[in-house]
Symmetry: C2
Subunit: 462 residues, 2 copies
């Protein structure tokens, strides 16, 4: 019996898959302060032009440069595992597979886009990248990638995670990156937030504002901003996950009925799911599930809207599910899922009826993570535990219904830098947080008066 | 250009290699309190008989049970990487390969023997294992393995590492293991040490004594002790590393001139090196280097002697290089290399002239580790950094001599649970520790009057 389905280095996908070419509802453009679609040139102070081209591209397949492939080959292709021990523990007739993205040097899927972004910036003559990080997965990944191609790296880390996970800073430093807690005194916006709310746990929205400010305020023009999720080019870079999984499921002589990934900004979910979204668009029956925390229910409880990607409203308006750019979520351990918005491409796929979003609270997720660790061995990141909890729900349903079923989920990262969360869970110190409808209505107030996606779509058609 | 040489699951070695069958000088037996070779039966309260049989075996190849192979396949075979970026950074004509044992769930080579030991104990009807751990790699690995086969696990962790690396405890707990700092109040010997030296940083020797006491004092007979290094059966289980590496080097169309591993108790070194020791015995020219810390120079500065494996003198006398069973090393970050003794098989191979031991101080090792992290991406364990430092020395020598050379080292584990060491190194808080000859003479006093290996060998011959 095979446990891991392994590809050869030569099997690595040579192109990224761009779902924007296939989404039946089309993709709504980002809007500027004037309510009109943003000219790509307007993004030039923030991103290098080669990545902006990818961001706005609707080309279905985009070649991966040879040098980026070489960077990816340091840990890719990643294994696809059959979770035989977990299946046995659950007594389920379902087959459970997981794609193991935890084998990268930074321990998650994040380096897939980090090495690509670092390489494109380097090609464009950039010397320094600024970014934000939630739980630290992205900041670590970008620090790693910058060391690989020879760029400086500065990371604004959401303060609650900075305090919960001190090793993340040390990790970034080992790769030569700099990491400060956000809000920080290094930016005007950070100082403003600190003055108003000195005890704020921070948020990804705030940290993004700081990182963008730090990038655009370097007048040498040699600094750019880098984002680890949400944007189209990030989703694009992650699609090698799903393309590899397709080949590996074929090796296993199997095909998934259910595809699952946790979703904060959407990138690991999209990475696994978009190649399967393409299969679904072409008629295959697949249940595709993004899983988010109950304390940050972007897809499950917030309407599709135009909103800013950051708290200081420095980004254009993006068409996405959003809890409001001023939203500051509870300090749950899945720091990477604490984002107020969601990838516009994932949001659009939900609007197109291609996905079935789900939210799960943290205790069920940690319970699933501990069961996974004790059966399959690898200790999951708290973010990843959301995908595992959903996979376990599906496996239990199959058991009740006495029905065979093939479940595939993305094991987006390991939890070796998040062990204090396990300690707190196992010693009974964690509780669930659920947002009330009132809380959500309040947090969405900051979006009042923003254009509606429906109106924008109609206007663009006319 | 290939970066990783990957084996298929079906390529996993089906037998362990026992170097005891091939060492030209033979292997000296453990001695009991009466100075006579220990009867295997005398070890029965400590280990299950199936492992004792392996411990004393001189059979060259020992079959790996099907069920143990299944456990190993959760992460094996491990990749062999060509360190192209490191080579480039060094500007060396040498080719550098490393065997990546960091991909196991516990992040090191330790699970190779942990799953085997847990499985054999379970087969023998044991319900609970007690062990010690230095840096925490072994305690984590055994907790993981016990979760896999369904055993309880208790770990005595050397206090200095327990304090330096709090996440290790959380990691063991995530797998259901229990972890206490050693010396502890849970054993008579621990209480005795604490009474005499309340501020002791602890040592592996002390922790081993506690774990053995905890095992043999369970009168139900359902508890045994498990050791993560030093003993013959542990070296045996690790030889899958070198056997895989041999196949992978063949895939690369290459063959190592130099084979390197860090050495504390000897197990990761032996795992990679012993299959190459066999090649060397059969006439191949290979420079095989165990690397130890300058602050614990067992192989490089201590004679081959009979000494106890633990501080309380509960183990038989073992023929090995030893700094003395009462030795308490400096609190260096490579906690896994802070052992007073050395595997008898590794020690014997040194006596047989098959190995060239080397000691390196901690600052050079951390510098090597940071260079490795920034070129090859993976952050090394402080233990592993000793092998990297030696590989870099060899690569620089090749550069000076303008000579091609193939270097293979064991990347025994990642440093994601040891990041505070990197933080201290990068902020200039670490210093080197070197033992003086006086210190060594003093620490070896506790061995006065013990039989000499030479005499024992002569007596056994007669």
């Amino acid at each position: 019996m095979t446990i891991k389905y392994l590809l050869k280095e030569s099997d690595i996908p040579k192109q990224w898959y761009n779902v924007a070419a296939d989404l039946p509802g089309g993709v709504l453009p980002p809007l500027g302060p004037d309510g009109k679609p943003v000219n790509p040139q307007a993004l030039a102070p923030v991103f290098p032009m080669n990545l902006i081209e990818q961001e706005v591209s609707t080309q279905r397949w985009i070649d991966i440069p040879e040098e980026v492939l070489k960077l990816l080959l340091q840990w890719r292709p990643t294994p696809l595992h059959r979770a035989l021990n977990l299946e046995k523990a659950l007594g389920t007739p379902a087959k459970i597979y997981f794609k193991n993205e935890s084998v990268s040097p930074a321990g998650s899927h994040k380096p897939n886009t980090a090495v690509a972004q670092a390489w494109y910036n380097k090609q464009f003559g950039i010397q320094r990248l600024c970014t934000e990080t939630g739980a630290g997965q992205w900041g670590s990944a970008l620090s790693f990638a910058c060391a690989q191609v020879g760029l400086e790296c500065k990371v604004f880390m959401v303060r609650v995670s900075f305090d919960q996970k001190p090793y993340r800073k040390f990790m970034m430093e080992a790769w030569g990156g700099k990491c400060v807690p956000s809000p920080s005194t290094d930016t005007a916006f950070g100082r403003q937030v600190l003055a108003a709310t000195p005890d704020t746990p921070g948020s990804l929205g705030i940290a993004i504002s700081e990182a963008i400010e730090a990038a655009v305020s370097d007048l040498s023009g040699k600094t750019r901003y880098s984002l680890g999720s949400v944007l189209n080019h990030v989703m694009l870079h992650q699609t090698i996950i799903g393309q590899e999984a397709q080949k590996q499921m074929e090796m296993a002589g199997d095909s998934p009925d259910v595809v699952i990934g946790c979703a904060g900004g959407g990138s690991n979910f999209a990475g696994l799911a978009f190649p399967y979204v393409r299969e679904k668009i072409h008629g295959k029956k697949i249940d595709i599930i993004p899983v988010e925390p109950a304390s940050c229910p972007t897809l499950t409880k917030s309407p599709f809207s135009y909103d800013h990607g950051d708290t200081a409203k420095m980004t254009p308006l993006l068409a996405m599910h959003s809890l409001g750019h001023a939203f500051v979520p509870e300090a749950i351990h899945a720091g990477g899922l604490r984002y107020h918005g969601m990838s516009p491409l994932v949001s659009q796929a939900v609007m197109d009826g291609l996905l079935r979003p789900l939210s799960i609270a943290q205790l069920e997720c940690f319970e699933a993570a501990v069961l996974f660790a004790r059966t399959e061995g690898i200790i999951p990141a708290p973010e990843t535990s959301h995908a595992i909890a959903a996979a376990i729900r599906e496996a239990k349903k199959a058991k009740e219904e006495k029905k065979a079923k093939t479940i595939l989920f993305n094991f987006s990262g390991h939890g070796l830098l998040d062990l204090s969360g396990y300690n707190k869970f196992l010693s009974g110190q964690l509780v669930d947080h659920e947002l009330s409808d009132d809380d959500i209505a309040k947090s969405r107030k900051c979006m009042e008066g923003f254009p509606s996606p429906k109106d924008v779509a109609a206007r663009l058609k006319a």
